[in-house]
């Protein structure tokens, strides 16, 4: 079942001065439960595509559909609310709220959704347990390693129960061990809870885990391949 779809998506920066074609006629469909990597060299358009999929940027032409709903023509306020309830984000720089603890960072998005206190507390506890940070829930970002912060970011992305999670270079700032650990967690959630992940990455460790790899070159899809991936030792 298609959860995410783009139709002839194009993005041109500076159309009136020095046009830069960041995306050229991109049409893809991502089904529920996919574990997809968007790969390509720097400037190939993978982050631009991810921003379009997340409704963080508007295309010059074409459209993005999430769960059958077109988001490209949505008004900004409606789009923000749509993101709150449908899309999870994991950023390269973690982007946790530094004045909040791990637990508060995970709870924050649920507070925005106006959920009950009890539900928020229990779900934040559960998610932090799932990412292996049950004992670090009162730590602030500055007291955690990069790997731990990124795991909190994953827990935060899952907290809102989104339709899918977009992760922009999630392992770019992590050491090998932390990166593998994070991938294990995301992989497990994908397999056991059928959470859909879409990554932009040029990290081979991530690419190796992806069951679908979309390769971009000069803003266009160069290759789109599905693969059988061996499960990790942990699994």
């Amino acid at each position: 079942m298609a959860i995410l779809q783009t139709k002839n998506l194009s993005k041109v920066y500076n159309p009136d001065t020095v046009p830069v074609h960041a995306l050229r006629d991109v049409s893809i469909t991502i089904d529920k439960g996919e574990f997809t990597s968007i790969v390509g060299p720097s400037g190939s358009g993978k982050t631009t595509l991810l921003n379009m999929l997340g409704g963080l940027d508007k295309p010059t032409s074409g459209s993005v559909w999430v769960n059958g709903e077109e988001i490209t023509s949505m008004k900004e306020s409606k789009l923000i609310d749509f993101r709150l309830h449908n899309i999870g984000f994991v950023f390269q720089h973690y982007n946790l709220i530094p004045v909040f603890t791990a637990h508060e960072n995970v709870s924050f998005i649920m507070l925005l959704q106006n959920r009950s206190k009890k539900e928020i507390r229990e779900r934040a506890d559960d998610l932090l347990e799932q990412v292996g940070l049950g004992d670090r829930k009162n730590a602030r970002p500055v007291q955690m390693s990069g790997g731990q912060q990124q795991r909190v970011a994953v827990a935060r992305a899952l907290a809102s129960e989104p339709k899918f999670i977009l992760a922009d270079e999630p392992t770019a700032n992590l050491d090998s061990t932390s990166a593998m650990n994070l991938l294990d967690i995301m992989n497990k959630m994908n397999r056991e809870q059928n959470v859909t992940f879409v990554f932009s990455t040029h990290d081979q460790r991530v690419i190796d885990r992806a069951r679908r790899v979309i390769t971009m070159v000069d803003g266009a899809i160069h290759k789109d391949e599905y693969r059988d991936v061996e499960e990790t030792a942990e699994n």
Binding site: L56, D57, G88, P98, V99, I109, L111, L112
Partner: protein, 406 residues
């Protein structure tokens, strides 16, 4: 809202040094502003009360042309009826008739022009508190023949002491020159040097004998329970009696009204000036806070925090920061004003003795009304909101896709 307030509070303390400097500036600004305002309030209200309670009273009745012509024959008619009306009016606390004359006071050393005020020694102390200014000697109920009260400074000028004889020269009711010897029974000192040098007090009946031989009155001074009733009673008196002119204190002394009006708004003006200066400090701090957190704010918008909430967050940070500082500033100011209110501030050490030349008491008892604290709080909130508008708009214009990538 609660969660936004929690984030705002923690964000304020993200950079304790920067917030601390701004808080210190606001505390110092409010403390200084409120202290200066309270000093000004004390100065003006003391001057106001001195004038009203020592001499001017809330309303006065004269012959319609007396104040412009000052002719001795321009006396108040129908005094019995007027006194009866005043006696029966519940608004009136007390009143007293005065006999006035412009004349010259002479000592063996020198002479000078003065206003001679003949007072009713029973009713004048009920109407004004001038008698409290007696610094030495006795009041006009002295056993001395023709007692007179003169100012300490005038006594120095005339080189006279208590018990000495001075001569008063003035016009009688027929415009003939009259003179008589008076004995200094007491010396007074008010907060106005000019007043002390230009006014002498004698008993009304003594002056009457010399001016007309009859019991005439040039001025009836009326003190009320509530100054706000002055307008209605003045109008009633003018309606009821022909040939008199009743005037309120502010008609008799317009400059006192300007001063009183200024006194009412001095706190506002002082605080507006201080707040304008502080607004730039708040603006600078909030802008720095926004620029530092572009990516974080972008992330919040990206994950689903509405721009209205982002706007509210910045506003709350500004308001909470400013109100925290304002609370400190106002507590400090309240303590300072309380201390000054009970101990007074003696401006003579700062050369404030010269205030006497302008009729102001150099020992000031500052005060500030609770309503002024409330007005200052509103002004602080308004300033904080105003100063946060630009940074908030900056935050609203963030494109999350751009700032997160940076």
């Amino acid at each position: 809202m609660k969660i936004l307030a929690a984030i705002a509070w923690r964000n304020i303390w993200r950079n304790p040094a920067r917030s601390g400097v701004l808080i210190a500036a606001i505390v110092a600004g409010l403390w200084a502003g409120i202290s200066v305002s309270s000093l000004s309030n004390g100065l003006i209200v003391q001057r106001f009360n001195n004038l009203i309670e020592q001499d001017l009273t809330h309303l006065q009745i004269h012959h319609p042309e007396y104040l412009s012509e000052r002719e001795p024959w321009m006396v108040v008619r129908n005094t019995d009826s007027i006194f009866r009306l005043l006696d029966n009016d519940e608004r009136v606390r007390s009143f007293s008739g005065r006999v006035l004359s412009d004349g010259i006071i002479q000592s063996p050393v020198t002479s000078t022009g003065v206003q001679i005020i003949g007072i009713d020694i029973l009713n004048e102390p009920r109407t004004t508190n001038f008698h409290l200014n007696l610094k030495d000697g006795e009041y006009l109920d002295s056993d001395l023949p023709n007692p007179i009260l003169i100012g300490e400074r005038l006594a120095q000028k005339l080189q006279m002491e208590i018990g000495n004889r001075v001569v008063l020269m003035f016009q009688d009711i027929d415009n003939d020159l009259a003179s008589a010897a008076f004995h200094i029974s007491g010396l007074f000192s008010t907060s106005s040097r000019v007043y002390d040098e230009r006014n002498v007090f004698v008993r009304a009946e003594h002056l009457n004998e010399l001016i007309s031989g009859d019991a005439i009155i040039h001025e009836i001074a009326v003190i009320l329970y509530d100054a706000a009733e002055a307008d209605s009673l003045t109008a009633e008196l003018n309606r009821t009696f022909d040939g008199i002119m009743a005037e309120t204190w502010y008609e008799l002394s317009p400059e006192l009204r300007y001063m009183s009006d200024f006194g009412d708004s001095v706190t506002f003006y002082v605080m507006v000036v201080i707040m304008i200066a502080l607004a730039f400090g708040i603006l600078n701090t909030m802008l720095m806070a926004i620029f530092e957190r572009m990516r974080e704010l972008g992330m919040m918008i990206a994950i689903g925090m509405s721009k209205a909430r982002v706007f509210m967050l910045i506003m709350l940070e500004s308001v909470i920061l400013t109100l925290t500082a304002a609370a400190g500033g106002m507590i400090l100011a309240w303590l300072s004003v309380r201390y000054m209110e009970s101990n007074g501030v003696d401006l003579t050490v700062f050369g404030g003795d010269s205030l006497l030349e302008f009729g102001f008491d150099p020992l000031i008892y500052p005060f500030i009304l609770m309503s002024d604290y409330f007005a200052v709080t509103l002004l602080v909130i308004f300033t904080a909101i105003l100063a946060a508008i630009y940074p908030s708009i900056k935050a609203l214009r963030l494109n999350p896709g751009d700032v997160i990538r940076e």
